[in-house]
Symmetry: C2
Subunit: 332 residues, 2 copies
Amino acid sequence: MSKRPPSAEDDFVARLIRPLAGEGAFNLEDDAALLVPPRGHDLVLKTDAIVMGVHSFPDDPPDLVARKALRMNLSDLAGKGAKPLGFLLTLALPRNPDQAWLAHFFEGLAEDSKSFACPLLGGDTTRTTGPFSASIIIIGAARRGRMPTRLDARAGDLIAVTGTIGDAALGLFQRLEPERAALWGLSADEHEHLASRYMLPQPRNVLAATIARHARAAMDISDGLVLDLERLCRASGLSARLDADGVPLSPAARKALGTDQALLGTILAGGDDYELLVTLPRDSWGSFSAECEAKGVAATLIGETLSGEAGRVSVMASGRELALEQSGFSHL
Amino acid sequence: MSKRPPSAEDDFVARLIRPLAGEGAFNLEDDAALLVPPRGHDLVLKTDAIVMGVHSFPDDPPDLVARKALRMNLSDLAGKGAKPLGFLLTLALPRNPDQAWLAHFFEGLAEDSKSFACPLLGGDTTRTTGPFSASIIIIGAARRGRMPTRLDARAGDLIAVTGTIGDAALGLFQRLEPERAALWGLSADEHEHLASRYMLPQPRNVLAATIARHARAAMDISDGLVLDLERLCRASGLSARLDADGVPLSPAARKALGTDQALLGTILAGGDDYELLVTLPRDSWGSFSAECEAKGVAATLIGETLSGEAGRVSVMASGRELALEQSGFSHL
């Protein structure tokens, strides 16, 4: 209802945004973006938003906030075996936004847009009476008919994850409760490892083709391993056994867990892993894990899917079923 | 940073959203949407957000807020000669949202999603400490290589618009300043005409194929005729002459203008028209206007593009150039 003429601020934002524009964005001079879909591919679309103060701390470095926002979406494409084609950005700006903060935000966004070959296609900037927020819509291309979903698992599939689990959740924990985390006795490097895994995830886009080739069902892990596996199982109409002892941990996470077994809940149910969760036919594991290793990412078997109550995940450790204190967090 | 388990509220939202899901949305059980691009077409992408209290009044009927949000985006596709394929929705919800309000919002969204054949493909729901906001990302298909942009006008093109101009701006005016608007002497029907043109635009998606066939440059008019024509001219490196006397007005707008000539600025520079602005080669006007008429929408010539200072629009009335008081509003 309240519109107003373009201001110096708007020009400032336009100057920050324009350098990110890719082909089909018409230097942001048109009111829509054009995308020529690659032949023989389907398009994969995903949107994920960050709201300042809800998904990030006010004192987070703005370039890292931006990079994480893009990487959250890139990770979704990796989980769908899709290659990034570009993204749209919707910004909601409070009045008199901090220009230096915004400039750093766009520096970070430009850096990752370039390094992940994911250009800006378009977007919208709007005023808000609330906090700064950024919504990213990412578009990727998957080989026609090859996109794995959460619905595609079959009973008896092997369940695997990439990288290590729980680092980001522990990184957030040590930030929120530094006194308790001091008892873990981590080295400075280990502390920094967990912190950076929370602040700047490493989405597994190098594995997109491998996922498309081998995975039956696949998704990225953003809301906690257990909750995300439950969702995959529910969508596929299956249950699953998750071997907690087999979940891959970083040295830092292993050391923390050694001092406090209760952290297993944080590790298995905390969010922000941005690793990939896949189910595989049994005879695909060999080639899948070899391809992952060739790309520099470890893959680890952590359980199997079962026929049974849809969405039920039994977390087993030392032969007994665990009752997790936290059943995982949702982004919502 | 603050995540939390799914709540009864989230389930409520999921129940509201799911019925809108189209093919490729996997009943919203996957974490991404799949879109099979129609053969021989390019994709057109556009995003536009509404923030409660910024782009809508708190007492606006929620179903109309939702329908306007979708129609703003549908209008962009019409201006690009593109057919809707679907949309993504990003919601930012304050704590304890009004469930009845949300239910009406989704009723309206479902109604227009169906009537414009534009299914929901996916989305994201997030918490905010600010006001309710909804960001829509719409995806359309344009015949390969046929999408007209703002950059495609050539000097000497005819400039045309669809429908009538200024109704929505007058509808907003009479809402904000009812005492002044009472002097216009409108009938109840005329008052309602202007009010509904503001509240529920009629995007010209029936003309998409006509636009793709005939327009050189095209866009929808959302931020005011003069500002949008300036943008088109700037992007095309041209100037333009706009004949104010020729701008098509509804009977209600004509009556209002008759009582107060200063309203010409509101009409030409106010926003929310959601009509189409096109430039045409001279020999295309006959078939373009005939096709529009066959689809039940009037098209009217309002000027021509000229070589000259890029983005300069001369507004002419009775042979003299007008200096508009308001040079138009931006959505930003």
